[in-house]
């Protein structure tokens, strides 16, 4: 099970909890599982969040692989000038 | 108001044009003569992107009325390279990577040319103060100043 950590912003969906263990092998599955548990969270994550899998940031990358021991951080999307 | 007839010399060639009395030299260069190498960054003489040389004097063409070009010689960026050969300043700007976006570059080159015409061996401080009227937001001026100094050295070499 991958360890998933959500930012403060997501507490409105989860009732305060921000850390979960989730069985998912891709970013897409991770988002859909979180959405199944907390309706609306999936869209919020898709629109506003990037994913850091074991330290590497993935943006709009649903096919990116998550390993069973992965540490996954949802972080605000990053732009730039 | 009727247009004024102006006879002038641009980059060595005789040129005639009709201009509204309120038109700037920059407007005429860009819009009437299709010499769009001179740029408008401010329209108030603060950025130097429109720098041209009129009778050996560096001017912001956005601050000069087109009618004032009557009987004068105007040199623009389009005339800096001669016979298919880049001017040493142009070559040194490329070698030193003295440009990023390139928008201020025509003005910087004309200002640098005017400097080297009157001072073939400027110090770094002299280059910096002479070019203080030409804004560049990309380079921090480091490579620009180096390119001008290097071009000056090469031009001095050519004169020997």
């Amino acid at each position: 099970m991958a360890r998933v950590v959500l930012p403060w912003d997501c507490r409105q969906f989860t009732g305060g909890q921000t850390e979960f263990d989730i069985e998912a092998d891709t970013v897409r599955r991770l988002i859909s599982q979180l959405d199944a548990r907390f309706p609306g969270l999936g869209e919020f994550l898709s629109q506003k969040m990037a994913v850091a899998i074991d330290g590497e940031i993935h943006q709009d990358a649903w096919s990116s692989a998550i390993r069973p021991a992965s540490e996954v951080y949802l972080i605000p999307r990053i732009g730039g000038g | 108001m009727s247009k004024l007839h102006v006879s002038t010399v641009v980059n060595g060639d005789p040129v005639e044009f009709l201009a509204d009395p309120a038109m700037t030299l920059l407007d005429v260069l860009r819009d009437e003569l299709n010499l769009t190498g001179s740029k408008e960054g401010c329209g108030s003489g603060d950025c130097g992107a429109c720098s041209v040389i009129v009778d050996d004097r560096l001017v912001c063409s956005c601050l000069m009325l087109a009618a004032e070009a009557e009987g004068r010689r105007v040199a623009t960026i389009e005339g800096l390279a001669q016979g298919g050969q880049l001017h040493p300043l142009q070559q040194k700007f490329l070698e030193h990577a003295a440009l990023q976006c390139g928008f201020c570059t025509p003005g910087l080159l004309m200002a640098s040319k005017a400097l080297l015409d009157v001072n073939p061996d400027p110090t770094e401080t002299e280059v910096r103060y002479w070019l203080a009227g030409n804004l560049c937001r990309c380079t921090g001026y480091d490579k620009v100043v180096r390119a001008v100094m290097d071009a000056a050295a090469e031009l001095r070499q050519e004169r020997v």
């Binding site: - | 108030s44 142009q90 490329l94 025509p106 001026y141």
Partner: protein
Amino acid sequence: MSDVLDKPAGSPALKIVGSRPIRPDGADKVTGRAAFGADFNMPGQLVGRVLRSPHAHARIVSIDTRKARALPGVKAVITGADFPDVASEMHDGGESASNLRDLAMNVMARTKALYNGHAVAAVAAVSAAVAEAALALIEVTYEVLPHVIDVEAAMAPDAPVLHPHMFTEGLDAKPTTPSNIAKRNRLGRGDPDQAFAEADVVFEGRYTTQAVHQGYIEPHACVASWAEDGQCEVWSSSQGQFMVRTYCAKVLGLETSSIRVTPAEIGGGFGGKTTVYLEPLALALSRQSGHPVKMVMTRDEVFRATGPTSGAVILVKFGARSDGTIIAADVELKCQAGAFAGSPVGAASMTALACYDIANFSITGWDVVTNSPKVAAYRAPGAPIAAFGVESALDDLAHKLEMDPIALREKNAVRDGVKAAYGPKFTNIGFLETLAAIRDSDHYSAPLGRNQGRGVAAGFWFNVGGESTAAVHVGEDGSVAVVTGSPDIGGSRASMAMMAAETLEIPLDRVRPRIADTASIGFSMLTGGSRTTFATGMAVVQAAEKVVADLKRRAALIWEVAEDQVDWAGGAAHCLDPGKDVGPLTLGDIAAKAATTGGPITAQVSLNAQGAGPGFGVHVCDVEVDPETGHVTVLRYTAAQDVGKAIHPAYVEGQVQGGVAQGVGWALNEEYIFDGEGRMENAGFLDYRVPVASDLPMIDAILVEVANPRHPFGAKGVGEVPIVPPLAAVANAVRGAIGVRMTDLPLSPPKIRAVLDARDG
């Protein structure tokens, strides 16, 4: 000039990457041939002009355009009523996400003008003079409302409210009344309260910055044509032709396929050209008039209606052990968003403590709307603001601990395996190496004179990847075109050509890089976020690799050998089969036979690049303060940065030097000054003074190369990091010179005089 350190070990010998060739677009840029936004014209084009609100906050009661329409030569007049309603929807146009409804209302005000300079109407006419006369004939009735620009004043409960439907997001409970606070964001770890209680030393500071403009020298410009069949052409200067296409389509309710956007050369952007202002207006004017319309902003309009980045308040508190270990931090950031939500406070919060490994911290950010132009991205958006506070406070903490400022940073620096304050774990970062490069530089130990001071500061930027497309086409003579969708804002064409030539193993002068319009290449996100050399470069390399594979296949066909019997080296196929007595086939040889071996030789790669490596910079700055005038002279400046791998070191140094110059301007001169009516008082280059050549010394760039394994040549983004440290580096140097901490940017002579007067009694 640069020292290049730490060559990545084990990488194959590179022939082109890492060298300093003349850029492929160079001749056009030094001869005046290069066509920027305002250099393009269409037959029969009209001149478009914008009427802007003279009020910082006003209800638009009515707009009467009849007299303007009646003026001979006027061909179109538009107001907010000519645009469709756009639903509130976040759109990631490439970099910072925009709310499309806000974007549409920023382009043209509807019921309210929200800042002095907000567009309220536009005209197209046969000449500039007629267009301007027409603007004067448009009668707008305003009901002027109280306005607010200062960020803390805008947060006050009694502040005039810009958007009656704005309720602060991110609070524990949804507020019951609207306010100007769009959002609160928070990051945290551990137990800061407990850790502060256990700290040996606590230092606290409050820092303020003013809005500053990106200051690109080329004003926004475009030509747009809306044909009778509904097909639209836009020629414009921007950081992304696809961004322009998307935003125009959304604002005008069009399909993207009906708009073709051709990118002009761009005369600087720095984030400020990551959105649209003129293009949708020009299209709407073209539709109404039936003519192409050209629009070019004046410098006054650029200042009053585009950019800037936020003015901000930054509160920083550090708790440390006496050995310098920082055990607690608290950062609060309040950032002006301008007229619509979306300040860079999110990135400011995420970057604020990104350089340091701190067990307990709390970061709170506030995104606050104000009656000033909607902020646009500006080079590492938000990060310089946060770093100004954090790095100033660290400097004072070092003084309090009697520690060397670099030693304090080294003690707390993030390194591989450390979890960043914003979440992920760092890998392949070069912060310690960058600190060491400054610590060991001649500059850091050089003696200082009277009234002189030295300051150091660090900075961080994430760098991003994202969507890019590149195509590699081989001509029948073996020369190569490399086509991308990424505007070249600072010399990226050179790096694209170099990476392609390196991969194909051919001379650089056989490769021509081009930037295509939106109909001629696949989608690419805009040039920004320091992504182009990384992400578009990755697409270029992959496309070139596909071409090499295709060339080997064709050589095998020609030689009648298996494909694995062909090697590609030195720009030619070599036959490995000892039974064949054949010489190498060059790219030109194979290209000449393309028809017989499968047709044109070409490859296109579209990707969504992940794995951009974060960048760290450490700067040291010497200043001298004139005690009589309060003027600060920057005497010497050295900037070290981890760049992964410098593809073209001269342009990497240029990015560093340019970012430093902008940061020095932010520290010493630049600010938006508003009068009591909310009108910008210094909307011109004379009064809004960006650094000029005589304000700056040479800027030494030290390129540290800790390779990014996710890029084919190890590159990391480089363009944004350099603007992050200078604000604090300069302020810390001024503290060194005068012995007093200054916390309010810019450090202009009157402020310094006041501090010196107070100091000297």
